[in-house]
Symmetry: C2
Subunit: 294 residues, 2 copies
């Protein structure tokens, strides 16, 4: 298939490479930064605008940083929207605003095209290993049609529901991950400060109701003080902003999510925008005036 | 062994029964409520005071509601302390204040006796099935000596460190459980309110970094609306009070734990003191003015 790929960055480049390796022909948007050499060597065609990418492809995948980027690429001047013709498909694999996504899906549908939102989790490691978790919002027949492409990039692929459901699930995922990090942070700092060995406490808690992937992986990172990302705090902040902004629009309150966002901000204030998100423990340690290991 | 057991209630009665079934001789405190018939039929001896229980036993186990109960039974008039003689052992399996526990352990040690704190998790079901998780604070030789008794009552038995470490681990456990419940509550209410099926979202998130025992068990309870306990909100509130009070004494802040306590209070305000703790989702739903299933 001829696939347009817009956003061949840290995540996008390895994802596109898996599609190319499976025999798909890539059309890439030539933007500011140079395109990955391996994709060009593999036969990918550069295009000068998002419009041209869409014209030259059967299906366009986006992997962009945030909602305004997706909006500009889709509906800005020389955007994907101008190059789409009936029957083509747009797959947005970025993690962006679920409510805005609903609007994007409607606009694309009005052009006679299919829209799929398919944000991922698993980071750069998962992108390279083709082991991403992919949460999909789409009509079922459309999902079945594009599923083989997802299977080239990920492992845990779930259709959540109609367009925007993928983005909703991703936001829910990021809420839980942030709050579970705060849970482990408060518990281990409490344990250390109260005089117990936080490593023994983590171990004892792993078998019971407190067990989680975050206690396992990020709890160990907190003990080892390995805060190189992983997943950067500034990216998790973007995701929690999606949660908090959407919640306001939907008319519901997310008190713990809002609180976790403030703790990430406390890390940023200490210079930690690019720390791994498990470094939220440092904000709790500041509140305890003593690091976990001291 | 001759074992004094003080607090043969909902949790304590089945725990004591396992000890008796293994051939240990029980001495029970005859307090206000009648003693369990099965224990008396099994040959347990009633005693009129905690002092007499301690006098008649080699080892005394406490399973009481809260810190003041333990303090009164240990050091009040006619208490365990008055009946202890050198070489006896006190095991407190209640979930109580870790800082107060340090003091209790010192006082018991001053009498020439060993003190073990060994709070449990797993609830009534775990007590009956002898599958409790037991978090132990004790000196290692003392732990090795009493471990065979724990093995009659539980499965996941961990020595965390010296006296009070068991209580610290239990508090850490309850912090994580409460915050993971809040994480799942906010995520699923967000998903539902944003228009996705929360059951599909839960399913999709189970494989990734958001996975936890709470997402698995309590997430399903929230979807099924089965809020019969389980573990009662008023008991979890007691445990979070231990966390928050201890944190204040230790000089550290637990912002998310304090927040979760308020949400439990919001449930109590709705008449939910005896709801299962997964019903915290109802407090979040109130903030969203719409139940998860609507």
């Amino acid at each position: 298939m001829k696939i347009g790929f817009i956003g061949a960055g840290i995540m996008g480049a390895p994802m596109a490479a898996h599609l190319q390796a499976a025999g798909h022909e890539l059309v890439l948007l030539q933007h500011r930064s140079p395109l990955p050499a391996n994709l060009l060597d593999g036969g990918a065609t550069p295009a000068a605008s998002a419009r041209e990418v869409a014209q030259a492809s059967d299906l366009v995948i986006l992997m962009l940083p945030d909602t305004p980027d997706v909006e500009a690429v889709l509906f800005g001047a020389d955007g994907v929207g101008e190059g789409l013709s009936k029957g083509k498909t747009v797959i947005d694999m970025s993690s962006i605003d679920p409510i805005a996504t609903k609007g994007f899906a409607e606009k694309v549908a009005a052009l006679g095209c299919d829209y799929v939102d398919a944000p991922v989790s698993g980071g750069e490691v998962g992108a390279k290993a083709a082991s991403l978790t992919i949460m999909v919002g789409a009509d079922e027949p459309v999902f079945e049609r594009v599923r083989p492409l997802f299977e080239l990039m990920g492992k845990n692929i779930t259709l959540i529901g109609p367009a925007s459901s993928g983005q909703i699930a991703k936001v829910a995922n990021q809420i839980i991950v942030a709050l579970n990090i705060e849970a482990v942070s408060e518990a281990l700092v409490f344990a250390a400060k109260a005089g117990a060995d936080p490593a023994r406490v983590r171990e004892a808690l792993m078998g019971g109701f407190a067990s989680s992937r975050i206690l396992e992986v990020h709890g160990q990172r907190m003990l080892d003080r390995t805060f190189d990302p992983g997943f950067r705090i500034r990216l998790h902040q973007k995701d929690l902003s999606l949660a908090i902004d959407s919640a306001r629009k939907l008319g519901l309150a997310l008190p713990a999510t809002a609180n976790a966002q403030q703790l990430f901000s406390a890390c940023v204030a200490q210079g930690g925008a690019d720390w791994d998100h498990s470094a939220m423990v440092k904000a709790i340690e500041t509140l305890a005036a003593q690091p976990l290991g001291a």
